[in-house]
């Protein structure tokens, strides 16, 4: 570690090491980061699909999705670009409820790839989405999720870096073996735990 002459940093009074992972700073804004243009899929053409191997094991239209049990989560989120936002309120359908609605008692494979409008993908261990840990979120802060933040629906997996919470999600595909998604193929960490500062490959 080298000291930086003349750098003092922010007041330490508000630093909450229990709540803010290493290398992160807290912001009140909601920055936008996406690799390309924001897609705008009309709700009457929106569907969410569950795919296992070559078969579709579940598919919901927007109306059908809204009729599933809705869960509200208040969580802290952590972006790999260093900002964290505390106490964010989301609403959507848990992956548990989604699997139940598809009649899947047991997940059929240990990994999952989220496929999104615009071609974005993110890989996750299924375990990280179960027991209420993962949501397909359609509302933020009491309002419909804005397109630039991933609306109409994005994945929400708050205990991993936020690129795993894939925007504009349309299809969840079970995988027997882990595969890298979009950023994971471009040098970012395959798992992405902010508390272990797993930003990049090899961290």
């Amino acid at each position: 570690m080298i000291r930086t002459r003349g750098f003092t940093g922010r007041s330490r009074a508000n630093a909450d090491e229990q709540r803010v992972p290493p290398g992160q700073y807290v912001t009140d804004d909601f920055p936008v980061l996406s690799a390309g243009p924001t897609p705008h899929t009309p709700l009457d053409r929106w569907t969410l699909a569950l795919q296992d191997g070559g078969s579709l094991v579940g598919k919901w239209t927007w109306e059908e999705f809204q009729a599933l049990p809705q869960t509200e989560l208040t969580v802290d989120i952590h972006c790999v670009t260093k900002w964290s936002k505390l106490g964010t309120v989301w609403e959507g359908v848990t992956i548990d409820d989604l699997l139940a609605a598809a009649g899947l008692e047991e997940p059929s494979a240990p990994h999952l790839m989220a496929h999104c409008d615009g071609g974005y993908t993110a890989n996750l261990p299924l375990e990280d989405l179960l027991d209420g840990k993962g949501l397909v979120a359609t509302r933020f802060d009491g309002e419909p999720l804005a397109p630039e933040h991933g609306g109409p629906a994005r994945l929400l997996v708050p205990h991993l870096y936020f690129w795993k919470s894939a925007k504009w999600v349309r299809r969840l595909r079970f995988m027997e073996h882990d595969e890298p998604g979009f950023w994971e193929s471009l040098g970012y960490h395959i798992y992405g735990d902010p508390w272990r500062e797993q930003r990049y490959d090899g961290d």
């Binding site: 002459r5 750098f7 924001t38």
Partner: protein
């Protein structure tokens, strides 16, 4: 043929990933670009090289061990051994005020990279190249233009256009260098627009926010299938990316990078 294919494949699964190591960067020069933006030229021993468009993470450490990390785009091209970062001072910022106002030659901090391989371009990838920048979003696009200029004939063979939005004439980062690049022979067109202040007399650029007609006028037609890179503040990037797609460009060829006004940089 098969060996050539093998050579570009990813390392075998299970190969130990090499950690992106923190390196010591030393400030060797500071260049005042505008009242709010400064370029720091850094000596980074054993820098592994980068692609134009990539960024680095930097980490500053206070006397009591407190650390702050931020990401900044690299403004220098791969051809130049020293790294240049151009930083704009953010109000209420924690790291940018130190970098813009405090950092002096001889100061050292930690840096690791290069990071990000998507928002990146090299002459080998070809063109045409349409670059759209807002404010300090010019930095990674400048790395591309500098790389193109450093690539001689191959660079000049890539038609390129830059549409650059700045608040005022005095806020145009790299203004003189851009003038030189734009007036050199070789297929680069640079168009400015000023958004917050009346342009000076004789101004030949635009004086409004970037919009669809401006992009249609400056950019290439969709049939030319340009590679489009957009970097700037979020509202500008959202508006430009949307307009470019509405003009008929393939969204898959539009790459965006944003810096949010998070008050944190």
């Amino acid at each position: 043929m098969s060996s050539a294919t093998t050579a570009i494949e990813a390392p075998p699964a299970g190969a130990a990933a090499r950690r992106l190591a923190w390196r010591q960067a030393e400030v060797v020069e500071r260049i005042a670009e505008t009242p709010r933006a400064t370029t720091l030229v850094l000596d980074v021993p054993d820098w592994p090289g980068h692609l134009a468009g990539q960024h680095v993470d930097i980490r500053l450490t206070a006397d009591d061990g407190y650390q702050a990390q931020r990401s900044y785009s690299i403004a220098s091209p791969p051809e130049v051994p020293r790294l240049a970062l151009t930083i704009t001072r953010l109000e209420r910022g924690e790291v940018s005020p130190w970098l813009v106002d405090e950092a002096r030659p001889g100061d050292r901090f930690e840096l690791r990279g290069p990071i990000g391989g998507y928002f990146a371009w090299s002459v080998a990838a070809g063109g045409p190249l349409l670059l759209v920048a807002g404010g300090s979003g010019i930095a990674p696009l400048m790395a591309m233009l500098r790389h193109r200029a450093a690539s001689g004939e191959a660079g000049r063979a890539v038609p390129a256009r830059l549409l650059f939005s700045s608040r005022s004439y005095g806020d145009i980062i790299y203004r003189e260098e851009l003038e030189r690049l734009g007036s050199a022979p070789g297929g680069l067109l640079i168009v400015h627009t000023l958004t917050h202040e009346r342009p000076p007399p004789g101004w030949r650029g635009h004086a409004r926010l970037i919009d669809s007609p401006m992009l249609a006028e400056v950019g290439f037609p969709p049939a030319a299938a340009p590679k489009v890179f957009v970097c700037g503040p979020t509202p500008m990037v959202e508006a430009v990316a949307e307009a470019v797609v509405s003009l008929g460009h393939d969204p898959g060829r539009v790459k965006t990078e944003r810096f949010g006004a998070t008050g944190g940089r």
